[in-house]
Symmetry: none
Subunit: 200 residues, 4 copies
């Protein structure tokens, strides 16, 4: 009559969470479906009821990553307050995420590896960084309209800011000794203050 009923979406999320955990711990290449199933507390075959393949799980992890990234950047672009303050908040937000949950961030290296050939792979980190640069560029335009930027700030500077962020994340990832949150202010100083119009 009332056969076992599961919330498919919830189950997918459970499995994805487990997968991300294991990917973060062992790396995608070294992760076995068995590991994910064990982490999720189910049998190997059950994973396949919700995801078609191991690659599909990485892809799902990418989508989640992309959504999270987009969310952070969107909030900065569309939020209230002076543009440069929102940019500073963005820097803090990104590093806080890493500091709060180191593991999930570790899958980034697997996402980079998976997006090696942009055409063949659905994991498209180029698009993520493109979006990030566009968001930062928009923030810089907003700041420029506010008249707080010095002259000559171009699109390329957005790439540098994104780079500084990701590059600091990267260092924190490979070197657990580096304190992510403490890098926020230096990043802000270097990247933003350097672009700010000198106070008369």
């Amino acid at each position: 009559m009332s056969p076992r009923k599961v919330d498919k979406a919830a189950r997918r999320k459970e499995i994805l969470t487990a997968a991300v955990k294991v990917f973060a711990r062992k790396g995608f290449a070294a992760t076995r479906i068995d590991d994910i199933a064990a982490e999720a507390g189910m049998a190997k075959g059950s994973v396949y009821l919700y995801y078609d393949s191991r690659d599909a799980l990485l892809e799902a992890a990418f989508e989640a990553y992309r959504a999270m990234s987009a969310d952070i950047f969107d909030r900065a672009v569309n939020g209230p307050g002076p543009a440069l303050e929102r940019l500073a908040g963005l820097v803090h937000a990104v590093l806080d995420v890493l500091a709060a949950r180191r593991e999930p961030a570790r899958i980034m290296v697997d996402l980079w590896a998976a997006s090696r050939d942009a055409e063949k792979s659905p994991v498209d980190m180029a698009a993520v960084y493109g979006d990030s640069r566009a968001a930062i560029a928009e923030l810089l335009r907003q700041a420029d309209k506010e008249g707080v930027l010095r002259a000559g700030v171009s699109e390329h500077h957005a790439a540098v800011i994104v780079g500084a962020l990701e590059g600091c994340l990267l260092q924190c990832l490979v070197d657990p000794g580096l304190p992510a949150t403490e890098l926020a202010e230096p990043i802000i100083q270097v990247c933003l203050e350097g672009l700010r119009r000198p106070a008369a």
Copy 2:
């Protein structure tokens, strides 16, 4: 004396070069010993006469990467001229390497992945970045002695500069559309000019 010693080292280098080429092209995970042997123009078994395992080849690739990186940074630290000019030269040098030979740089993502567990793996990117930060910090100290830095420049700023460099490399790697060399000047502007003491 040792009639074949030179040959042995040359052979190792040949194989390593081939391996790096294939790693760059297909990624470490997708690289087969067969691919490397084919690229090196020899039989699969012969690879094992010079390297103990597939992992040993990645390790060797890491050592080469580390050496190259150390070389670039050392030259900047020990070179002649004003410190900030050497720092600017360093930025150009790093990005020029990427622009000149995109493929070899691609192995970085595999090195990152391999250095996931710092203890177990001989691939230790944390050390590389630690060295890089130390070099930049030394450059900043030199610049400070020259009196060209504004006050309050700390070790963390070195991390930001390394981060900006690596983060821009990363974006260029993932997105072939981004022109590496064109990012050099923006990086220099953002990272260095922002730290420079305002001209009286």
Copy 3:
């Protein structure tokens, strides 16, 4: 009495019909219980309420095939009219079944495969062909009594007639271009006229 007995039998038949359809379409080896359940419009688990296993369904398909075959042959043996006319009618009947519903006939190859080891498998095509030969032999005896056969017609000739029938079916199965019904008359000519006593 037993309120659901009729339903149970009907349900079994529904499932069997669905199974035969899918077996015919995809072959037994490629048929999944899911396919059968879908074809029958029920859930996978329900199939197991009526059949113990996938093999049991093939066995049931075999029984149905055997019954149908026995029916056709029995009618020819016990029917009215001259024996050779009944034999000719039998040939037409067999080929007409194939022409009418090509799909169900396709399961024959799966039945042959399943009857590979006569001891272990309940699918026993040897018995079916044995019965067929016996029926044909009986028809030939009847014809002999009617005095219309030439001398020397033995049991083996029954095997040849069965063989010609099945062999033509096989060709039609494998080659959709061959028109089953058009083969009836040639079969009759070759097999029967050749055995008929030359008209004085």
Copy 4:
């Protein structure tokens, strides 16, 4: 210097022979690569050095079957002597092969099953039977030119003869009790004598 050298073609043949043996014994569906490797006296992985997949082995078995079949029919078509005698010889040859080596013939049912969907599968039994019919039809034309056939013998009679042959083979396959060789003469009588022009 002189590294291990194997005759690739010979090795392929060895493996194919082993595969055919196991296919015949257990059926294609029930045959595991392990079984084939064991039968060939090698490790599982070695099989894949010579054949790409299990399906490729069935395909190879088909090619061998097709070649053998073509050979027998070609010899009958192009041989010396009266056409009907060659046809009779053909019948004996086909049944003798079965009698001599029952096992290899058993793979026929797997070939039939595999040729279920003519487009997708490289196993094309329809083509084999088409060739067989063409050969028989040619023989009948030759016999007709020799003036030994009665009138009205058409292409369809070739199908009947092929059918009688295959149908008898089939019965012998599923019923080990049926003696293949003893069916040769009845087949010849039914199929050929029935077509022969009555001696004045």
